[in-house]
Each structure stands twice: as structure tokens, then as C-alpha cells.
């Protein structure tokens, strides 16, 4: 029996150990690096010539950088959803997905922080936040809460990783010397003793409890950056809940996309099963319905009143210059995924993956629609300004930096998936044993 167990364990370990990039992996990484380099060049141009290289002017001072920031903040919520909520609810089927969620959360929160610094123009202005920042400002709250969330996400990735690092050190032949040194540095002290497990389990439980209010705070505070500013489209008491529901949706969408890609790339069909897609599909459809409900609230009520000051903004979204993008974001980001995922056949891996991509793409444009159209409709009419101030279309530098940051986040996910097991090995072994018993 013991022999059978050790064979099964060996099989799990061999299946789940990080694998070297194949040809497609190398091409994928190369593409991401290329995007990052173009983004870096564009950022160099922004540093060299100033924010004038962007299309942001007096009215639209928050463009796709801030849209991207809100998107990253939103997708980072996935860490707390999959890991914390499911763990606290004693849901075991999500175990193979926890590492993916934690890695996405870490990558997203890193680039959320970076893109804010990019939006400031000169990076040294970030320092001014600390020497001149006011605690009364939601911007400072955002800085505090993002830093906290980043730290929690790192810890939440690190603690469950410790038993797996012991396995990685044990299987020296599967990794390079440099990686072995790195594994030894971060986790050679893990011996898997009951005392160590007890401390680790306790820490993970505390983190799972702590991360939920912090995750709610990060999204609420980010929504308050807008809602505490009296402008058409932002003047809402609903914004905190609206942002959190949207963040849960895009986070879950991101996880199903990553699940499908890793499953295919690393042949993990035995571990990330069709049942996982079925369950995640149900979660995504529930979250999409919830977010749709908040959207109806957010747009129907102001449209019903149609205050004079909000009329231009709302008409711009419903039938004006932003209408194609608005209806694209609503239909692609919510309606079509809901239709796909409501049916059992739609919750098979490929349709769930497609719905996940739609959710993520729709969510990115939705963030853009939250940020920019409002700025083009100030309460006081624009007078005596150049025509370029009345419209906004990002410059190539902005596109390059935004795409570079998205590529950067995916590169971090890719690198972390190369270094660490994308599915927790030790937890999988433990759960299989528990199931067998």
C-alpha cells in the first residue's frame, strides 16, 4: 500500500514540477519581452520629453494609464477570491487553482503600482506623495492599501509554497543550479515537521482572514478616487460595491483563462479537470450577473433622472462617441459570457476559456469607460481650448506603455510558473491521500 502511495506521489510530483520552456513557451516569452521593451522605450520617451508625448491634456488627465491601473487592481482581487474565500469556506476542489490565483494577484498588483508611477510623469513625484501627501486624500489611502495588499499577496504566495520548495530542492536534477540556489535561499529551512506545518497553517489562515477586508479596501478606495470627486458618472454612492463586483468578475475571468492556458501548456488535464471549468464557469456567470446588476443600477438610475449636468456624459455613452465601446464592453464583458456560461455545454473548458477572455477584454474597456468619458464632460463647459482637448485618443507611447505593462504582468506570471509549481504539489498529494482514505 505504501509502495502504491509513493508511486502515486512520485507521479504527481513528476507531473507538477516546473518544466523548462518548450518552443512555444520560448516564443511566448519572447513576444512578451518584445512588448515590454517597446513599452520601456515609450516610457523612456515620456521621461525624456515629458507627459506631452501622451494625449492627456487639461481635461483628460487620466487616460489609459489609470484605466490600466484600475484593471490591474481589479484582477488582483482574484487572489483573495480563490485562495482566501474558498479556503475559509472549506472548498477543496479549488486547490489546483490557488497558486494560479496567487501568482496572478502578485503580478497584477506589481504592475498596478508601476503604472501609477508611470501616470505621474516623472517617477520622483512618487516621493512627493510621502513628503506632501495628505492623509485626508483617498490617493494616500490607495498607496497605503496597495502596499499592504502587495505584501499580503506575497506572503499568501510564499507560505503555501514552502512545502513545495522542499520538494523542488529534493528533485535537484529537474532544475538548474541557479534555481536550486534560489530555492535554498527562500526555503531550505522547511523540513515539513508538524511544528512547521502548524505555524504555516496558522499563518495561512490569518492571511486568508486579513486579505479579505484588505482586498475589499483596495477596491473600495480605488473606487473612491472617483466617487469622492464630484463629476458626472462618478458621483455615486454605489461605486465601492460596483468596483468590487467588477473586480471579482475580471479576477475569476483571468483565472479561467490562465487555467486553460496552463492546462494545455503543461498537460495538466488530470489536475485541472473539466469539473474545475464547470465550477469556475458557474462562479463566473454568477459574478457576471452580479456585475450586470450593478451596471444597471449605475446607468439606469442616472439615465432615468437625466440631470442636465450628466446628460452629455450619459448620451455620449449610450448613443454618442463612446457608444460602440460602451455596448461592446457590456455585451462582450457581461451579456455574451452570461449566455455562454448559463448552459452546461458552455461550461466545458474551451467555451469557458473563450468566455473568460471576453470577460477580461470587456473589463479592460469597461475601466476605460469609467475613467475617461467623465473627464471629457466637465460641469463647466470647455471654452477657448484647442480641439485636441475636447477628445482623447491615446498616443502610441500610451498604447505601448499600457500594452507593455499588460505584457509585463503576463511575463511575471510566466516566469513564476517556470520557477514554481503552478499547482501546489504538497497540497495535491495530501488531498489525494485524504480522498483515498
Amino acid at each position: 500500500m505504501e509502495n502504491l502511495n509513493s508511486t502515486a506521489n512520485e507521479k504527481i510530483i513528476q507531473d507538477l514540477l516546473p518544466q523548462k520552456f518548450g518552443k512555444s513557451g520560448k516564443i511566448w516569452t519572447g513576444i512578451l519581452v518584445a512588448f515590454c521593451l517597446v513599452g520601456l522605450f515609450a516610457y523612456y520617451r515620456q521621461l525624456r520629453y515629458g507627459l506631452v508625448v501622451t494625449s492627456m491634456r487639461d481635461y483628460v488627465s487620466w487616460g489609459i494609464y489609470i484605466s490600466n491601473f484600475v484593471f490591474f487592481v481589479a484582477i488582483s482581487l482574484v487572489g483573495s477570491l480563490i485562495t482566501a474565500v474558498f479556503r475559509l469556506a472549506d472548498v477543496h476542489w479549488s486547490t489546483p487553482l490557488t497558486r494560479i490565483a496567487e501568482i496572478i494577484a502578485v503580478a497584477a498588483i506589481i504592475f498596478a503600482s508601476l503604472i501609477i508611477i508611470v501616470d505621474m510623469g516623472s517617477p520622483e513625484r512618487f516621493y512627493n506623495l510621502f513628503i506632501h501627501g495628505r492623509l485626508q486624500s483617498p490617493i494616500i489611502w490607495d498607496v497605503i492599501v496597495i502596499t499592504t495588499y502587495f505584501f499580503i499577496s506575497i506572503l499568501l504566495l510564499y507560505f503555501p509554497l514552502l512545502p513545495d520548495i522542499q520538494i523542488l530542492i529534493k528533485y535537484k536534477e529537474k532544475s538548474s543550479k541557479r534555481l536550486q540556489k534560489f530555492y535554498s535561499f527562500i526555503g531550505s529551512f522547511w523540513k515539513g515537521t508538524p511544528a512547521q506545518f502548524k505555524l504555516s497553517e496558522k499563518a495561512i489562515n490569518i492571511l486568508c482572514i486579513t486579505i479579505i477586508p484588505v482586498a475589499f479596501s483596495i477596491h473600495t478606495v480605488t473606487s473612491w478616487l472617483f466617487a469622492t470627486t464630484y463629476r458626472p458618472g462618478w458621483d455615486s454612492t454605489n461605486f465601492g460595491a460596483y468596483f468590487i463586483s467588477g473586480a471579482f468578475l475580471v479576477g475569476a475571468g483571468g483565472v479561467v483563462v490562465a487555467m486553460y492556458v496552463f492546462r494545455k501548456a503543461y498537460h495538466l488535464e488530470k489536475y485541472i479537470t473539466a469539473d474545475h471549468f464547470e465550477k469556475m464557469g458557474r462562479i463566473v456567470v454568477l459574478l457576471a450577473l452580479l456585475y450586470l446588476y450593478f451596471n444597471v443600477n449605475e446607468y439606469l438610475v442616472p439615465a432615468f433622472k437625466m440631470k442636465k449636468s450628466e446628460e452629455a456624459h450619459l448620451n455620449g455613452l449610450f448613443t454618442g462617441e463612446f457608444a460602440p465601446l460602451f455596448w461592446f464592453a457590456i455585451s462582450v464583458g457581461m451579456l455574451i459570457p452570461i449566455i455562454i456560461l448559463l448552459f452546461k455545454k458552455g461550461r466545458r473548458p474551451l467555451p469557458v476559456f473563450i468566455a473568460g477572455i471576453m470577460v477580461v477584454v470587456g473589463a479592460w474597456f469597461k475601466r476605460y469607460l469609467i475613467v475617461t468619458p467623465t473627464l471629457l464632460h466637465p460641469f463647466l463647459p470647455m471654452t477657448n481650448v484647442p480641439d485636441s482637448y475636447r477628445h482623447y485618443f491615446p498616443s502610441w507611447e500610451e498604447w505601448a506603455i499600457a500594452l507593455g505593462s499588460l505584457a509585463g504582468a503576463m511575463l511575471v506570471i510566466t516566469i513564476l510558473s517556470r520557477i514554481f509549481p503552478i499547482i501546489p504539489i504538497q497540497e495535491t498529494i495530501t488531498e489525494r491521500h485524504e480522498t483515498a482514505e
Partner: protein, 294 residues
């Protein structure tokens, strides 16, 4: 040929008639102005005149600006010019009685003021006059908050109290004057006096509680508009509220509200305290591992 000349002559006559008719019709389009004068003297000091010019448009009076007026003292002596003024957008123009007319002003107890407009291409000439007698008001107060206003007029060479003059005794407020009690106006008795009890005890004054009492005669046919003021400390002290330097959400960073500091630091210390304890857990785990290795 003769017939042709006659026809041309006839045609020219018609053209001439029509053109002259047109000229007449233009004359007829000139508007009529209504000019009025009011006389004012505040605190028994320098008197001044207020001239108003208006015209009727669609059955309603409207002020007319940029109308030049000549203001004279005593219309019989048209040479005594007080001032040349031009009306503003409210159709009003003011002029003080200049010191140069002191002798003429002192020579009589009554004066007639004349405002004349010579006419221009839009309006016919117009004029107005006003005759007023010299008068003054004195105001006095007692410790039991009674206000006595006495009206005098100049008779021969001395000031004589006047009976039966209607006046208001009020407190000066920002936009209008507020009566000192429920009586809207008072009439002077045989001694020229009108007495009012001050019943606005809680009325806000300035920082020292000072308020300004006013006794005034308005649009009197004989005396014009007279007003006299007196400052008394009968109001409640007004303590201005200034939030500029207080701890508020819109204040500078060193003026953060205490409740916000308390809440923010409590949350940050609690959460980061937990996180630091978790980092300590890592060191504990490490220590256990090193002990086993040893």
C-alpha cells in the same frame, strides 16, 4: 417739351414732399424722457442730488443711460450750475452740492433744483425741478434703550422743531433697515420728537455687539430724504466662525482631523502588526528547521 418739364417738376415735387415727410417722420420717432430729481442728506453733512431718467417702452418705464444732464441750483438762477452729469446703466446720476456754492446755499432756507436735458437725436429735451426746505434730524438714545429722533427745519435763521413729520427708526442691516419694534413708522410731536423703544435685543451686531440705529425721512415733499445714524452696543456679539486653520478634511496635511488619524493609524497598525507577526512566524519556522538540521 413743356409737358415733359411739367411732369419732371411734378415728380421732383413729390420726391421733395416725400423726403421732407420722411424727415418729419424721423422727428416724430424721437422718444420722450421722464426726468426726476431726489434730494438726500445723510448724517446732516453734505447734501447731494440723485437724478433719474427713464422712458416708456411698450407701456413700461425703462432706465435710459448715457443721458447728459445739467443740474442747477435754483432754477430761476439758471447760471448756478451744480454739476454736469451723465446717467449710468440704471438711468441714474448723482452730484453733491459743491463747496463753491456755499454762499448761494446759505442765502436761502429753501432751494429749487433743476435738471435739464437739451435733447439729442433720439430724445426730446426734458427737465424736472424739485423744491426742498432745509431740515435735519438728531438722534438720541437712553440707557433703557429708548431712541428719540428730533426733526428740525430751518426757519429764518434758526432750527425749529417740526410737528407731524413721518419718519422711520430702524436698525441698519446688510440689505435693508429693520424697524426697531413692531411700529413701521413714527410721527413727530409738537416738540419735533418721535420716540421708539428698542425691541430687537438678540439682534447680531459686530464683534463688539455694535449695531447702527437709523432715523430717516423718505421722499418727503418738503424736505426730501434725510437720514441720520448712531452706533450703539445693543446687539449680541458676533463671533465669526473660521474653519481655515482647523482640522478638516480639506485642510493641509498637518491639520488632519484627529478622528481620521485615529482610524487610519489604528487600521494600519493593526494590519501591519498582523503582517509583522506573520514575518516573525517565518523566522520561527526557519529556526525549527535549523534546529533539526543541527
Amino acid at each position: 417739351m413743356k409737358l415733359l418739364n411739367k411732369n419732371i417738376l411734378g415728380l421732383l415735387s413729390i420726391i421733395f414732399f416725400l423726403s421732407s415727410y420722411d424727415a418729419l417722420s424721423q422727428e416724430a420717432q424721437k422718444g420722450d424722457l421722464n426726468v426726476s430729481i431726489s434730494y438726500f442728506i445723510n448724517n446732516n453733512k453734505i447734501p447731494y442730488l440723485l437724478a433719474k431718467v427713464k422712458t416708456k417702452v411698450d407701456g413700461k418705464f425703462k432706465p435710459v443711460n448715457v443721458i447728459p444732464l445739467n443740474l442747477f441750483l435754483d432754477k430761476d438762477s439758471a447760471g448756478t450750475l451744480i454739476a454736469k452729469v451723465v446717467t449710468n446703466e440704471k438711468g441714474e446720476a448723482t452730484a453733491i452740492i459743491p463747496a463753491s456754492l456755499k454762499n448761494q446755499w446759505s442765502s436761502s432756507i429753501k432751494h429749487t433744483f433743476l435738471a435739464s436735458f437739451d435733447g439729442n437725436k433720439n430724445y426730446e429735451s426734458a427737465k424736472a425741478d424739485l423744491t426742498v426746505g432745509k431740515a435735519k434730524i438728531l438722534i438720541d438714545t437712553t440707557s433703557d434703550r429708548k431712541i428719540t429722533a428730533t426733526v428740525f427745519e430751518m426757519k429764518d435763521t434758526s432750527w425749529t422743531p417740526v410737528k407731524g413729520v413721518e419718519l422711520k427708526i430702524a436698525v441698519r442691516r446688510l440689505d435693508a433697515d429693520l424697524s426697531v419694534n413692531e411700529t413701521a413708522s413714527f410721527t413727530t410731536d409738537s416738540t419735533g420728537q418721535a420716540t421708539a423703544d428698542f425691541k430687537r435685543d438678540s439682534i447680531p451686531g459686530d464683534e463688539k455687539g455694535n449695531i447702527i440705529l437709523v432715523a430717516k425721512i423718505e421722499d418727503n415733499d418738503q424736505y426730501g430724504n434725510l437720514l441720520v445714524e448712531q452706533t450703539v452696543p445693543w446687539g449680541s456679539k458676533f463671533i465669526p466662525v473660521n474653519n481655515f486653520d482647523r482640522r478638516t478634511l480639506f485642510a493641509t496635511r498637518d491639520k488632519t482631523p484627529i478622528w481620521l488619524l485615529f482610524m487610519a493609524y489604528s487600521i494600519v497598525i493593526t494590519v501591519w502588526g498582523i503582517l509583522i507577526s506573520l514575518v516573525i512566524s517565518i523566522f520561527k519556522i526557519k529556526k525549527i528547521g535549523e534546529e533539526i538540521q543541527a
